[in-house]
Symmetry: C2
Subunit: 306 residues, 2 copies
Amino acid sequence: MSHVYERVALIGLGLIAGSMGLAMKAHGLAGEVVGTARSKDTRDVAVGLGLCDRVTETAAEAAKDADLVVLAVPVGAMGAIAAEIAPHLKPGATVTDVGSVKKHVVEAVSPHLPDTVHFVPGHPLAGTEHSGPHAGFATLFENRWCLLITDAGCEAGAVANLRALWEGMGANVEEMDADHHDLVLAVTSHTPHLIAYTMVGVADDLRRVTDSEVIKYSAAGFRDFTRIAASDPTMWRDVFLTNKEATLEILGRFTEELFALQRAIRTGDGEQLFDYFTRTRAIRRGIIEAGQDTEAPDFGRGTSRK
Amino acid sequence: MSHVYERVALIGLGLIAGSMGLAMKAHGLAGEVVGTARSKDTRDVAVGLGLCDRVTETAAEAAKDADLVVLAVPVGAMGAIAAEIAPHLKPGATVTDVGSVKKHVVEAVSPHLPDTVHFVPGHPLAGTEHSGPHAGFATLFENRWCLLITDAGCEAGAVANLRALWEGMGANVEEMDADHHDLVLAVTSHTPHLIAYTMVGVADDLRRVTDSEVIKYSAAGFRDFTRIAASDPTMWRDVFLTNKEATLEILGRFTEELFALQRAIRTGDGEQLFDYFTRTRAIRRGIIEAGQDTEAPDFGRGTSRK
């Protein structure tokens, strides 16, 4: 495949950017990949692992002459990075990001960018509970969705190139507007993460059930929560601070439903519980059919293969 | 290995009993395995799959002459089964169960059993989101915990034999009392399941986020919840109805913590969120070190290997 971009700048070199660097190399999607990160250690690791061809000390240097600039820092840091790189952007360049919320990123980044560049926000729905440059791998985006935000009047050619890059890395691409993105993600990701964090915190607090018991007997369901709750704290703090409205709305719905089920338990209404649990099974079936998980009985398993 | 029991009766032939049948055969732990289930279809499937050597139409027939009787039916059905088999139990036989709650099972089963048999309640912490006789496999219990309830003055020899059976099937065995079991499981299993069911139900209800979007973008965290929420509805209805007290207590703790985090989101208290999310990471580390999960970045993955 010929290069989609001659020069790509990765601002931030964590799990997502590192995986992008490896995937672009593996599929020959970029002529040169330049990376930068605040920490010298991270930059050294990134070069050592081949996540990019070379690193620069500042974001401004990395962005200079780049055809695509990828903002891959926590959502709360996007605005400051945009302000820093703006004077150095090449006319005609595309700027994108990989943040988990989109309305806030659009509001924080857009005002800084000159009219001569294209801003196409993005969000690859891929990741693991690990973070940092060591966590990246080239196949992270295969068969995953990448959402591009195209309601801000993006130029069609710029969108097409960015789509080609993500498809080249194995992702399926969908376009939507920022508000809808933030609501969908509040349901499928942000609220589930907050709930998982909460449950793990509750378990940690309980003195009558010792930590060692919680850990020993985690395979009974709790274990999946701990995997979610092990995700990067900085990233998730920023997600909740910047997708506040949608998250609080879905949390409100959640507690309403939870109280209804809690009441059914208290009053012994087995029929209501049974009907509810039967309905949720159908969604699982849909996810397997959509290829977003396998039918293999992974839950409660996995360990013995260690 | 010589047989631990000459004849084992499996009452109920779902995921757990079926896996026990296969594991006992694989390791030569039982001379003969007799099975029974209410449905003729299930009995036929069980014989076809080799989950047991032969089946009987009634629980009473299966229990007759058995050295070990395993009650593997939903918790709500245990009492009636115990009443049915009681007159047919061989003196000196051991009765056990595999239910997910223990205090209720002890209260429902014990009054029916004659003094001539040993009742040692059990709970293997193993399972998948699948149910029924087709779901069983011989390695289900390997490196999993099996909890035996020994506070009711069980005879030491009966406990030792049951322990040998579970260890022979690959499980690690721990003894505890029924109340403590129910509290530990409320934390590590019952409340997480109720929360997962609730979140999946909320997603299903939301009209602005279509079902197809919820399913497509599930890999962002929601997917792990749907796996938990696909578990057997009858079993889980009975769990919540019979471990009401401990579940409601942990649910109360959960909503208290959730409201605190919700308030931190609303007021923009990033420090509180960051500290909370950092603390929960340590628990994940403990689970990996305890061998109850692997460090492989499974979350958000798995699909591409389909």
